[in-house]
C-alpha cells in the first residue's frame, strides 16, 4: 500500500511551526474541512506510530493540500527535516469533518494554538456565509497565517496570552461577549480543551449550533484499534466514541465537557 506523495513546499511559519504543501489528488479530491491525515514520520522505529495532522487547506485545482504542524516531539521533529520534492507518507483524508454552513448563514470559528489550522480550511470552504474568526495564540511570535485568515473571513479577532499582540488574554473572553451580542448560526471550535469547553457550554446554553474538534492519541487512525476514545453521552450514561472515525469533529451536545 502506497500513501507516498510529493512535497511541493516546506516553510517555517514561526519558531517550531512548519507548513508542508503536498501534492495529492487522492486527498485533495476527497477532503473536507475538519478531516485529518495520518502521517508517517521517517520510515523506522524512532517515531513508530503515525501522527494525526489536520488538513489546513486544499487547492483543488492544483490537487494539493497544506498541513501545518508544531514541532514538539520525536515524530514532528522528523517531519521538520522534509523539504520540497521529498516524499511523505500520508494516509487520508480521515475522520468526520465539520458540517458546512448553509448559504448566508453567520458562522464563527474559535481556535487556539494548533487548533486553528482546520478552521482555516473550514472558512475557505464556507462559501458566502458571513464569517467571523477568533484565534488565540501564546504570544506575538506564535501568530501565523494571519493574512490567510484575514482573507478567508469577514472579521478576525486575535488575542495572545501575554498580550504581545491583539487582545490581551484568552480568546474566549472577546468571543463570549461577541457570541451573546451576535448570536451566530453556527460556531466551530478547535484548540485546548478548556477553551473548547467554555465555547461549547456557552453555545449550548444559548441554543447555538456548535461543533468541537477533539484530539486524542491514535493507533490505526481508521477506527480499527479503538484506542482514541472520547467520552460521549449515551442516555443518562456515557460511552466511548472514537476520535479518528466518529470524530474528530463532534456536535457539542454529544460530548461530556
Amino acid at each position: 500500500m502506497n500513501f507516498n506523495e510529493r512535497i511541493l513546499k516546506s516553510e517555517i511559519l514561526a519558531k517550531n511551526i512548519h507548513l508542508l504543501r503536498i501534492k495529492s489528488e487522492r486527498i485533495a479530491m476527497k477532503a473536507s474541512p475538519g478531516q485529518f491525515v495520518n502521517v508517517r514520520c521517517g520510515t523506522g522505529l524512532d517515531a513508530y506510530l503515525r501522527r494525526p495532522v489536520s488538513i489546513c487547506r486544499v487547492d483543488s485545482e492544483e490537487n494539493t493540500f497544506d498541513m501545518v504542524f508544531m514541532n514538539r516531539g520525536k515524530g514532528t521533529n522528523l517531519l521538520c527535516g522534509l523539504y520540497c520534492d521529498d516524499v511523505i507518507d500520508v494516509m487520508g483524508p480521515l475522520g468526520n469533518g465539520f458540517t458546512l454552513p448553509g448559504k448566508n448563514e453567520h458562522i464563527a470559528v474559535v481556535g487556539g494554538g494548533i487548533g486553528i489550522f482546520p478552521l482555516l480550511y473550514l472558512l475557505e470552504k464556507s462559501g458566502n456565509a458571513k464569517k467571523s474568526a477568533f484565534l488565540g495564540f501564546r504570544t506575538k511570535k506564535a501568530v501565523v497565517l494571519k493574512e490567510a485568515f484575514q482573507k478567508a473571513c469577514d472579521e478576525l479577532v486575535i488575542s495572545t496570552d501575554d498580550g504581545s499582540y491583539g487582545i490581551d488574554g484568552l480568546i474566549t473572553e472577546p468571543f463570549l461577549k461577541w457570541l451573546e451580542a451576535e448570536r451566530p448560526d453556527r460556531v466551530y471550535t478547535c484548540g485546548p480543551l478548556p477553551m473548547m469547553r467554555a465555547v461549547a457550554l456557552s453555545c449550548m446554553e444559548q441554543g447555538i449550533f456548535c461543533e468541537v474538534s477533539m484530539e486524542q492519541r491514535m493507533g490505526c487512525g481508521i477506527g480499527a484499534c479503538l484506542v482514541c476514545a472520547c467520552k460521549v453521552k449515551d442516555g443518562d450514561d456515557f460511552n466511548y466514541a472514537h476520535v479518528c472515525k466518529d470524530g474528530p469533529v463532534f456536535p457539542a451536545e454529544r460530548l461530556m465537557l
Binding site: 500500500m1 502506497n2 508517517r40 522505529l45 517515531a47 513508530y48 506510530l49 503515525r50 520525536k74 494516509m91 486524542q216 492519541r217 491514535m218 493507533g219 490505526c220 487512525g221 481508521i222 477506527g223 480499527a224 484499534c225 479503538l226 484506542v227 482514541c228 476514545a229 472520547c230 456515557f238 460511552n239 466511548y240 472515525k245
Partner: protein, 311 residues
C-alpha cells in the same frame, strides 16, 4: 545443502490446516487490532487474508478504559483499550454477516470475567457462523478474570477444560507472555483439550510522561506490542512448539514476510499480525507476498514445511 531441488512448473502451496481449519495462507489479522474487518476492507481485499481474529468479545457490551489508551515506546506501543466491544450478541447479529462475505477463516476472540462467562460465550458461539474460538486468557487491560486465568497452569487448565466440554468449534487458547514458564501453561491448555495455542498477547508495561509526571495511559499500565516484543515472542513460540503437540499460531511484532518466516521457523504453523498494521495497512498482504518470496528463494513448495524447519 538444505535447498531442495527446484522443480519445473514449481508452484507454491501457502495453505495451512490447523485443527481442521483450512487457511488459504498463514497470515491472520490479530485480535483487537483489526476491529471486525470493516475498516481495513477500505484498504485491501480481505479475501487476501488467511483469517481474522476479531476484537475480543465479552458476554455483555463493554465500553473499555479511559483514554489515553495508547503510548508509543521504543519500537513498540502500549495499549490499554480494556476490551471495548459490543458484546457477543451484537457481534453475531451485526458483524458475522459482513465477515461471511469474505473467504477467510473467522476466529471469535473471547474474554470473560469468570469461567461461566467463557462457557456461555463458547455455547453461544458454537451455534454461530464462525470457524473457531480463541480463548483470550491473557488480556492485561481488564481488572477481573482474563489474565488471572492465564497466569497459571491451573487457571488455564480449568477454563480450557470447562469451555472444551461445551465448545463445538476448534478451540484456540491465547497465552500471555507475562509468566515464568510459558511451556507449563501451554501444556495445561493442551491437556485440557485445546486444539491450538496462539501467542503472545501483549507484555505488561508502563510509560511515564515526565513533563506532567503521570503515567501516559489513564489505566497506568498497558500491553506492549510491536517490533520491540518480537524476540520474546519468537522465544516463546520456539519453546511452546517444542513442548506441545498441537499447532501454534505465533505473533508479536511481525512487520513483514521475513519476520513471519522467523516465527514459522521457530515452530509456528501460522502467524497473526496486529500493531504493524497501524503503521502500514499493507502489512498483511505484504507479509503474504514476502513469505512467498522467501519460499521461492529457498525452494520451499509448501509453507507448512517452514514450520519448525531450523537446521
Amino acid at each position: 545443502m538444505f535447498y531442495k531441488e527446484l522443480k519445473e512448473g514449481f508452484c507454491l502451496d501457502l495453505t495451512v490446516n490447523i485443527a481442521g481449519l483450512n487457511f488459504k495462507n498463514p497470515v491472520i489479522a490479530a485480535s483487537g487490532t483489526f476491529g471486525f474487518g470493516r475498516e481495513y476492507a477500505d484498504y485491501f481485499d480481505l479475501n487476501r487474508l488467511g483469517g481474522i481474529s476479531v476484537k475480543g468479545l465479552t458476554l455483555e457490551p463493554r465500553r473499555g478504559n479511559d483514554p489515553p489508551r495508547i503510548a508509543e515506546t521504543p519500537g513498540g506501543i502500549l495499549n490499554s483499550v480494556g476490551l471495548q466491544n459490543p458484546g457477543v450478541h451484537a457481534f453475531i447479529r451485526d458483524e458475522i454477516p459482513f465477515l461471511r462475505k469474505y473467504d477467510l477463516v473467522v476466529i471469535a476472540n473471547v474474554a470473560g470475567n469468570s469461567i461461566e462467562d467463557y462457557c456461555k460465550m463458547a455455547e453461544i458461539l458454537s451455534d454461530a457462523d464462525i470457524d473457531a474460538i480463541e480463548l483470550n486468557v491473557s488480556c492485561p487491560n481488564v481488572k477481573e478474570g482474563c489474565l488471572l486465568f492465564g497466569s497459571n497452569p491451573k487457571g488455564v487448565l480449568e477454563v480450557t477444560g470447562e469451555v472444551r466440554r461445551l465448545c463445538k468449534k476448534p478451540l484456540i487458547v491465547k497465552l500471555t507472555p507475562n509468566v515464568t514458564d510459558i511451556v507449563e501453561i501451554a501444556k495445561a491448555a493442551e491437556a485440557a483439550g485445546a486444539d491450538c495455542i496462539s501467542l503472545i498477547n501483549t507484555v505488561l508495561g508502563m510509560a511515564i510522561d515526565i513533563e506532567v509526571r503521570k503515567p501516559v495511559l489513564a489505566n497506568i499500565m498497558g500491553g506492549l506490542s510491536g517490533p520491540a516484543v518480537k524476540p520474546v515472542a519468537v522465544r516463546m513460540v520456539y519453546q511452546v512448539s517444542k513442548g506441545v503437540r498441537i499447532p501454534v499460531i505465533g505473533m508479536g511484532g511481525i512487520s513483514n514476510g521475513d519476520d513471519a518466516v522467523e516465527f514459522l521457523l521457530a515452530g509456528a504453523s501460522a502467524v497473526m499480525i496486529g500493531t504493524a498494521g497501524f503503521v502500514n495497512p499493507g502489512v498483511w498482504v505484504e507479509t503474504i507476498d514476502g513469505i512467498e518470496r522467501y519460499m521461492k528463494k529457498h525452494h520451499f513448495e509448501r509453507v507448512a514445511e517452514l514450520t519448525g524447519a531450523l537446521v
